[in-house]
């Protein structure tokens, strides 16, 4: 990241993602049609949501697979607020996700060491190492074998999911980790995993374990 982008991320008054955080904070206590807001069940987010984002994707006992934080938020909407789920990358969803993610800032990525997660982790690692697309490249070939080198002008990062959702200058907006991963997958001319697919959750489960112990800096800014 350039010093300018880093500075933008460090200073919350300059970090555009904080606009989404503000919206998320307002949505937190906004009642749905049934009168319930997130706050009705979870009270103060800075207390109740502290460290939560750092544990996702997490195992969902109903669907018996790992789910993203955004899917968890949608489950609460459906089951507790009688509201319809928001589609992937919906601005309100990104706002709530940013607000919840902010409560994990500085904390270590701490994926659940749950036995039920291990098969998903194993498949996620396979996805990460599988060559895909017409360019026939795996995530590992760029992010494990060549980080720091330049792909055209762009330094290849280590693909640690510490900052999501992110404000990306290229998108002129917020986006989730799924959106970022789908970009890399289309970049190698592969058919990207669908939003909220099990494969995507597996891949993210692997990325989270790979980054265990790293400090969260969400919501981050990227070029």
């Amino acid at each position: 990241m350039s010093p300018a982008t880093q500075a933008m991320q460090k200073d919350d008054t300059q970090n555009p993602a904080m606009l989404w955080v503000k919206d998320g904070e307002a949505l937190w206590s906004k009642p749905a049609a049934n009168g319930k807001s997130c706050a009705s069940c979870h009270n103060d987010a800075p207390k109740s949501m502290k460290g939560i984002a750092a544990t996702y994707p997490a195992f969902d006992t109903q669907s018996r697979r790992p789910i993203h934080l955004s899917e968890r938020i949608n489950l609460c909407r459906k089951n507790k607020q009688d509201a319809s789920p928001l589609p992937p990358e919906h601005q309100d969803l990104l706002s709530m996700e940013s607000y919840v993610a902010l409560q994990s800032r500085g904390m270590s990525i701490a994926p659940h060491r749950d036995k039920r997660m291990s098969e998903f982790f194993t498949r996620g690692e396979k996805h990460y190492k599988q060559r895909i697309g017409q360019l026939d490249l795996s995530c590992a070939q760029c992010h494990d074998d060549n980080p720091g080198k330049r792909l055209a002008g762009t330094p290849i990062p280590q693909a640690h999911p510490t900052g999501y959702p992110i404000y990306r200058l290229e998108w002129q907006g917020m986006g989730s980790l799924q959106r970022r991963i789908r970009n890399c997958m289309s970049g190698v001319r592969a058919e990207p995993f669908a939003f909220n697919s099990t494969e995507m959750a597996e891949l993210e489960t692997y990325l989270a374990s790979r980054a265990a112990g790293m400090a969260m800096d969400a919501p981050a800014v990227r070029p």
Binding site: R131, L135, D136, R150, L151, T154, A190
Partner: protein, 119 residues
């Protein structure tokens, strides 16, 4: 009739170095500059994942260059360089590119002709 050797020219029309240069310079067509640098000064932001293409024509014969571009995996199974003229053996290829090679046979010849000028 004997099948032609893998590295023999793919087309009857000889490669055109000027067209080859344009292909190499183009980030959507050749993609070469994502990984390699080349003596194409008007293109800024060249990659450094791979050796410079400068001098490729003195280090390699035309046949070697052709083989490398058709299917770099034949030379080095671990190579990150895409196979530009192989259509099978891939997974999850996007529907728009499924079953297609990155380069046409003529594009392979054009790029080889350009690389041979890099002495």
């Amino acid at each position: 009739m004997l099948a032609p050797a893998l590295a023999a020219p793919l087309t009857d029309t000889p490669g055109d170095p000027a067209r080859g240069r344009a292909i190499v310079a183009n980030r959507q067509v050749g993609l070469c500059l994502l990984c390699h640098s080349a003596p194409i000064p008007e293109e800024r932001f060249q990659g450094d994942l791979a050796p410079s293409l400068a001098g490729a024509g003195s280090r390699n014969t035309a046949d070697q260059l052709r083989e490398r571009i058709i299917d770099s995996r034949k030379l080095n199974p671990q190579s990150i360089m895409p196979s530009y003229h192989r259509a099978d053996g891939f997974s999850r290829v996007a529907p728009a590119q499924a079953g297609k090679t990155i380069f046409t046979a003529q594009q392979v010849e054009d790029v080889v002709a350009y690389l041979m000028t890099l002495k």
